[in-house]
């Protein structure tokens, strides 16, 4: 059994950590947090130069042609650094949708642009409240144009293109949904930025008015493709969440060692020690579930749907738990804008909703476990 990343993959992780420590300090994150820039353009360029944006994109489409395990270790570091760039939208969602369902021409047009950092992509799925479900998709597609409103769309305000879920039928089945690719330059797209929990990753409302669109994948296959995309993104996001959880735990541990109260290090009080120990437990369970997700993703195993849901739930819970208790360990200082704790708290809670909320994935996991048990 070798249920671990290879030495090369660990080396890549170290490389990414070093790069991000240099280029993505909390100070750099704060430029975006404070609204002075929509995202960190310099960092985005650097990530492209390092080959991180296209790490899982095949060489024939301008990527590094490594694989999803390599992408997982980079994702972990992106989460640890709280990177203020549209990495998850572009790399986990848009690029994966193209890899799963794109035509050769579509892949040739967009994947090299993603790998080089020239194109930012996203997935436009949600229409207001609710979780991923075919019945929640109201935006219509007819005669090659889209009409409707998507909200919230992660990184929508800075995107060059989007994969859009649209209604092409009314049978009440999954086959009513098709995916489309919309180049924002083609017109008919209105974008409005929305304020959100985590300003280091923007959210937008996008109105499509006779927006020109080309089909992505076969008509009526939209929901099935989307499900695969969300499963892959669930694993990749889980690694970001694991990275964030670890960083929040580290911050709490470091502060508990530095801070003196009642004449001793606060980390010598059991109330604080045990809180940190419980954070370690959550983070460890999440990491192990995510490793299993990584294995399933990288081998395209039949176990992927169940593994992805388990990784998603476990990592969401761990990041929320660690980010929340990191503030608690810091006490009053943890509630200041000046300390970085709230950046992880914001990111943890925003990420918990991005691909569908926790309860949605809990529901998915039970369905998938039942399916397996029945088989």
């Amino acid at each position: 059994m070798n249920f671990d990343f290879s030495d090369d993959q660990k080396q890549l992780r170290d490389q990414a950590r070093k790069f991000l420590a240099e280029k993505c300090s909390p100070k750099a994150v704060r430029v975006v947090l404070d609204g002075k820039a929509p995202y960190d353009k310099e960092l985005w360029k650097g990530l492209a130069e390092m080959g991180f944006l296209g790490v899982a994109i095949p060489e024939e489409f301008g990527g590094a042609g490594a694989g999803h395990l390599e992408l997982c270790v980079i994702a972990e570091e992106m989460g640890r650094a709280n990177a203020p760039v549209p990495f998850s939208s572009t790399v986990y969602l848009a690029a994966e949708a193209l890899l799963i369902a794109g035509s050769d021409a579509q892949k040739k047009k967009w994947l090299p642009a993603i790998a080089s950092g020239e194109a930012i992509g996203t997935l436009a799925l949600f229409e207001g409240k609710g979780n991923p479900a075919p019945k929640n998709v109201k935006l219509t597609a007819a005669n090659g144009v889209l009409n409707g409103v998507k909200k919230p769309v992660a990184d929508g305000a800075i995107a060059d293109f989007a994969v859009v879920a649209a209604r092409t039928g009314s049978s009440g089945r999954d086959g009513d949904i098709s995916l489309f690719l919309v180049d924002f330059k083609a017109g008919g797209v209105e974008v409005k930025s929305l304020t959100n929990l985590d300003p280091t990753r923007g959210q937008a409302e996008i109105t499509f008015k006779d927006a020109k669109a080309e089909p992505l994948g076969a008509a009526g296959e939209g929901w099935s493709i989307l499900t695969q995309v969300l499963d892959r993104a669930a694993v990749l996001c889980a690694f970001e969440q694991v990275g964030g959880a670890d960083r929040a735990l580290e911050m709490g541990r470091d502060y508990a060692l530095d801070r003196i109260a009642f004449g001793r290090q606060i980390g010598s009080f059991q109330a604080v020690k045990h809180m940190l120990a419980d954070m370690y437990v959550s983070a460890t369970l999440a990491r192990s579930n995510s490793y299993y997700g990584a294995w399933a993703l990288s081998t395209n195993a039949a176990e992927l749907p169940e593994a992805a849901a388990a990784a998603r739930i476990s990592a969401t819970q761990a990041f929320q738990h660690c980010a929340k208790n990191n503030i608690q360990v810091h006490g009053g200082m943890g509630f200041t804008w000046e300390f970085d704790c709230h950046m992880y708290y914001r990111r943890a809670n925003a990420m918990a909703l991005g691909l569908g909320s926790l309860s949605y994935w809990e529901d998915q996991l039970i369905d998938r476990m039942r399916k397996k048990n029945a088989a």
Binding site: M1, H274, Y292, L365
Partner: protein, 414 residues
């Protein structure tokens, strides 16, 4: 990343599988396959009797205590080979319950601190199951703070004379030997006045009494010592070094207890899949699904954490500290799951007999037994301290009795 054996591991697994297939007591397979908490009970057999037979067969086939050196009854197996053996032994591993304390704790202590004569005399018989060992550490007033123990050993010529009481001794009533830690000097701080011994459990003055536990069962014992004589040749380590000797033993305790962890998740999943609530099956209820999913990912998280440790062993590395979470997570889960399953049963959940509504009271049994899972082998609080101190590097607790002579430490709270 893969779950495959290396060629050597695959060959070893094939050998082990073939041997188990040819030698295991298959008539017990169905009964052993049923999930169980705590002591194994067999309808028509005494666990010690069938356990001894299985252990003897394993010993003869060279599979008992296989990670031990050959000269002491093992086969010099590597840690990963031991894991593979356990996987192949499967449910029959439950038959080894009477020997686990000996194999996991007493044996390693004798191996580390015993004389060559003692090792050759005792270890092979421990491995073969011919002689069973128990561990005599905990006392009524020394649990988590085991170094505060009171049992006295006083030197008389070439012998030691022991007086005192131990508690929570698994298997004392069928054990041949016991590993005993006792206070040999009460005038120095508590950790410094302890010494480790082993003794014949049939020595005059040893009295074993079963404890009636909170769950109504009797699985553990109290052991009383009245002027019990132990030869100095049965001392393990130097006089006053008992604490550091005991750390060897306890380190092995947490490893061996963590090996097979019950979480209650498969039982709850099955229960919810069959339980009809007013609006349909329990497993179709969003609130039930949410709870079930949260527990399921804890359970899978533990499983894959152990896979990470196995992978480290396979590469010849030491597993990381992440395995320390196993008992902490599973103990709490068992208790929470039992409570929740009974909540779903409503008023009938109060019944503990062979009622259909409660599936023969399996969760009720789990509820009553689960407190012990959060205490035995390190309480939840001790485990959190261990994680905080050894994994996260936080300061140790402030110990007010550290430099106080043992006989000056207060013995009553109020």
């Amino acid at each position: 990343m893969n779950f495959d054996d290396t060629p050597q591991e695959a060959a070893f697994r094939a050998t082990a599988r073939k041997w188990v297939d040819a030698n295991a007591p298959k008539e017990l397979h169905a009964e052993l396959s049923k999930s169980s908490l705590g002591r194994i009970k067999l309808a028509n057999h005494d666990i010690v009797e069938v356990g001894k037979a299985w252990q003897k067969k394993k010993f003869e086939g060279n599979w008992a205590c296989l990670h031990w050196p050959k000269e002491y009854g093992g086969r010099d197996a590597t840690p990963i080979e031991k894991v593979i053996w356990q996987q192949e032994e499967g449910v029959y591993g439950k038959l080894t319950q009477p020997f686990q304390i000996g194999e996991g704790m007493c044996g390693p202590t004798v191996m580390a601190f015993g004389s060559e004569d003692a090792k050759r005399r005792y270890l092979p018989k421990l491995a073969s199951g011919e002689e069973i060992w128990c561990q005599l550490f905990s006392e009524p007033s020394a649990g988590s703070d085991v170094a505060g123990l009171r049992t006295r050993a006083e030197k008389k010529g070439d012998n030691w004379v022991v007086n005192g009481q131990k508690i929570w001794t698994s298997g004392a009533h069928y054990s041949d030997y016991g590993l005993l830690i006792a206070r040999t000097d009460p005038n120095v701080p508590k950790h410094k006045g302890l010494t480790m011994f082993f003794l014949d459990m049939k020595s005059p003055g040893v009295e074993v009494r079963p404890i009636r536990q909170a769950n109504g069962m009797q699985e553990f014992n109290e052991v009383y010592f009245t002027d019990v004589v132990i030869p100095d040749s049965q001392r393990l380590g130097a006089v006053g070094e008992g604490w550091s000797v005991s750390l060897t033993t306890l380190m092995n305790e947490r490893m061996s207890i963590g090996a097979r962890l019950a979480t209650g998740v498969p039982e709850l999943f099955e229960f919810c899949s069959n339980l009809m609530l007013e609006d349909g099956l329990a497993i179709d209820d969003p609130a039930v699904r949410s709870k079930l999913a949260s527990w399921a990912v804890k359970s899978s998280g533990l499983k894959y954490t152990s896979y990470r440790a196995i992978s480290a062993l396979s590469k010849g590395e030491r597993p990381g500290p992440e395995n320390s979470i196993g008992k902490l997570v599973s103990g709490m889960m068992l208790q929470d799951i039992a409570t929740y399953a009974m909540d779903l049963q409503g008023a009938a959940g109060v019944l503990t007999g062979s009622d259909e509504e409660t599936v023969q009271g399996q969760f009720q049994q789990m509820l009553l037994s689960s407190p012990s899972m959060r205490i035995a082998g390190g309480t939840d609080e001790i485990l959190r301290n261990i994680i905080a101190e050894r994994v996260l590097g936080l300061p140790g607790d402030i110990r007010v009795d550290k430099d106080v002579p043992y006989n000056k430490i207060p013995t009553k709270g109020r």
